[in-house]
Amino acid sequence: MTWRVVVGTLLVVATMIIVAFTAINEPARMADFDAGFEARSIEVGAALFESNCMSCHGITGQGIPGVAPALNSADLFNGTRLTEVGWTGALEDYVRLTVAGGRPLASTGTSYPQRMPTWSQEYGGPLRIDQVENLVDFVMNYGLTYAAGTGAETAAAAPAAEGIGANLTDPALPAGDAARGEQLTMDLGCVGCHVTATVGPAWLADSHPSGTGIGTRAGESVTASDYAGEATNAVEYLRESIVNPNVYLSTGFTAGVMPAIYADSLTAQDVADIIAYLETLK
């Protein structure tokens, strides 16, 4: 019996020491946990960005002219943009509010004719509150690039090489690479309107009322009686739609929605690749 009393007492003392030791280290452990949690939240946010935001805001958040503004850019984090829109609160709240609620209307005076969709389930969007938080953490993490002064600003919005211009036959298109074209349509955000949503005519056969893809319809449209453009074949028709989108509009769509910037910003190779890809969408 005596050894039990002795060992039992020692065990109680040992337990108390362990708990005290743990309690002393709690502030450090909790700080560590919070940092780890913040980091994991950014990871989750990155995955959500890839599946929900990338098609409009660009793969690396560099923004897509005419579709959605840059998030990976200095003006968002140095206060310039907040001043422009007249926001007096914290940037993080601005980002959270925008992600959660989107924009009820397209912002006037900008080159973004579409409204940003609502994302939070609170306002009828698809994402849970914690997922909105993950996205906010991810977007805010772009700020480190600029705070750290790494000069990575130049990485955003790479300047285009020689633009293809608006002529449909000059320069002649080089051979197209459909795989690169598909990647381009994602990088440039084309899929945001033509695949994910149907702000523009749907590319995929499943999403279009005719049941045919853009590759098939291009050939049909160019010979249709109401066609008013200058193209004489499917390739030229697609090229025209990219470089000079307002010449001829598909039924039900209005002028000015598709940005008329690609004649300057895309090279002949880019356009050839995109057309090669679109032609595969029968």
Partner: protein, 525 residues
């Protein structure tokens, strides 16, 4: 008038009479006697020293007059005091029930049963509440231990034949206790509202849907989950079941169970009595071990030991931590979802075929059999040698449950696409896994192939690529002529994107998995 307000303190009279010191000693002695319901200081000291008992025995008074000890016997038979035959399992089960109650009540202060904040509550408990992580880990380790100990206690009772006459009803209440313990543990599973919670419980709860006829199944399912899937209502139901209904039922059943244990006395080891005889109630003078001090010190020692073990395990020992997976998402089913380990046998049975037969009828029959076993098996002998059939049955049952549990794991008869399996080995959905466990600085930006494993720049990457190659070889039949790529890119400050791409049929088929990894995410721990 003055008389009404006259204050009379008897203690002052004592001081006047005996002097301050003697009066204080007498008062203390009296207080101790009141607190212990009958033992003064001298009796307590004599008890702790283990002095022989005096007549009348003051150590029985707390059992007769006090509330807490009236539930405990004054003495036990010496034969039931060693490890064998009880292994202290019943005591331990109650110990863990107390641990669960204490830690559970404290955790309730930081928990709201709502799908909007339940998961956030977990993060708060783990990252913002001092000792919160320890409490949560203790609650979880206690829950797992309690289930295991109750099962072992049941097995022990069966093996020593302690369920036989006159203890049939004690066994019966024990099966209820097992049932409540399982459901308590299971209902607690849902509360953190992570992927593990949602899917483990979904597997269990969806079985209720198979209850016949279909209309009943649908109603039961809706009653359990509060709707076609788990949401706020289902979470609230599980929460209330976990913190109110099931504990109440468990404590009631425990009261009855222990009352019966005391009424019949702890059954003596098999073989010390003649067949069919039960002498446990009468404990002759010579073979008594009094509760005070022998049993009490043993129990206190046992409490100190186990408290030390579990607290050590979840703190400085770092041996066990309650898991927390990503936020519950009904849209994303993790690659391999399993029920809690004590329900794996059920998941295994479900793989045998029909949900109604294996998911409802078979478990119901098994449970029903457990409930009435003590009334069906009425062989008089408790000696092992005369219970060959019974012992074989016990061994067979344990073996069958072990095999069924194995069958419940993803290792048995689960078909999924091999390319996903390979990538899931490196970056599983349900726990961090080797890729996330690799320190960020070891993941150097670049593109690596399993065809050129030797050329990777760091040891951590080498380990990963070797594992990658090994897995592709293992799935060689399904993924002929395969190559595994790992593309590491810088994505943001501190954040890397790692793309796993499995190519097979010589590059004709491919599958991708993207993993984002932050330098501070601490998965190594």
């Amino acid at each position: 008038m003055a008389e009404i307000f006259k204050v009379h303190i008897p203690f002052l009279d004592d001081v006047k009479e005996k002097g301050l010191k003697d009066a204080l000693v007498a008062k203390t002695d009296e207080s101790v006697e009141r607190l212990t319901a009958g033992m003064n200081i001298e009796a307590v000291r004599s008890m702790l020293r283990g002095d022989p008992v005096t007549r009348p025995n003051p150590r029985v008074k707390p059992h007769a007059d006090g509330f807490w000890l009236h539930m405990r016997p004054t003495y036990f038979n010496k034969k039931v005091m060693p490890w064998y035959p009880t292994f202290r399992l019943g005591f331990l089960a109650v110990y863990f029930l107390v641990v669960e109650t204490i830690t559970g009540v404290i955790l309730m202060f930081w928990y709201t049963p709502s799908t909007l904040v339940a998961y956030e509550n977990m993060l708060n408990i783990m990252g913002n509440v001092p000792l919160g992580l320890m409490l949560r880990d203790l609650h979880k380790i206690g829950a797992e231990a309690m289930v295991a100990i109750v099962l072992l206690h049941m097995l022990r009772t069966y093996v020593t034949g302690s369920y036989k006459k006159p203890r049939q009803f004690t066994w019966h209440t024990g099966v209820w206790l097992l049932l409540f313990t399982l459901f308590l543990s299971f209902s607690g599973y849902l509360l953190p509202w992570d992927q593990l919670s949602l899917w483990a419980v979904t597997i269990g709860a969806s079985m209720s849907e198979a209850a016949p006829p279909p209309v009943v199944g649908r109603i039961v399912d809706v009653l359990v989950r509060g709707g076609p899937g788990f949401g706020d209502i289902g979470l609230l139901r599980f929460y209330l079941g976990h913190v109110l209904l099931l504990p109440i039922l468990l404590f009631i059943a425990l009261g009855i169970h222990y009352y019966k244990v005391i009424i019949h006395g702890h059954s003596l080891p098999p073989g010390v009595e003649a067949d069919g005889e039960d002498t446990a109630r009468k404990v002759p003078m010579g073979v008594r071990d009094y509760f005070m001090p022998d049993v009490m010190t043993k129990e206190l020692y046992w409490i100190a030991l186990w408290t030390f073990i579990i607290i050590f395990a979840v703190t400085v020992g770092n041996l066990y931590h309650a898991p927390l997976e990503p936020h519950a998402d009904p849209q994303i089913t993790p690659l391999h979802t399993t029920a809690p380990w004590y329900f794996l046998w059920l998941q295994g049975m479900l793989k045998l075929g029909d949900k109604l037969i294996w998911g409802i009828i078979a478990p119901t029959v098994l449970l029903g059999f457990a409930f009435v076993l003590s009334y069906l098996e009425v062989g008089p002998s408790r000696r092992y040698i005369r219970r060959r059939l019974g012992m074989s049955f016990a061994a067979l049952t344990v073996a069958v449950f072990a095999i069924l549990s194995y069958m419940g794991t993803p290792y048995y008869a689960v078909s999924s696409s091999p390319d996903q399996e390979v990538m899931a080995v490196l970056a599983p959905q349900t726990h961090p896994g080797p890729l996330r466990g690799t320190p960020a600085e070891e993941l150097v930006v670049g593109e690596y192939s399993t065809h050129a494993v030797a050329s990777v720049p760091t040891a951590g990457l080498l380990e990963l690529m070797e594992l990658y190659e090994e897995e592709l070889v293992k799935f060689g039949d399904d993924l002929p002529d395969s190559e595994g790529l790992m593309i590491i890119e810088d994505w943001q400050v501190g954040l890397k994107k790692i793309t796993l791409r499995v190519l097979w049929n010589g590059g004709e088929r491919a599958a991708d998995l993207a993993v984002y990894l932050h330098a501070d995410s601490n998965y190594e721990d």
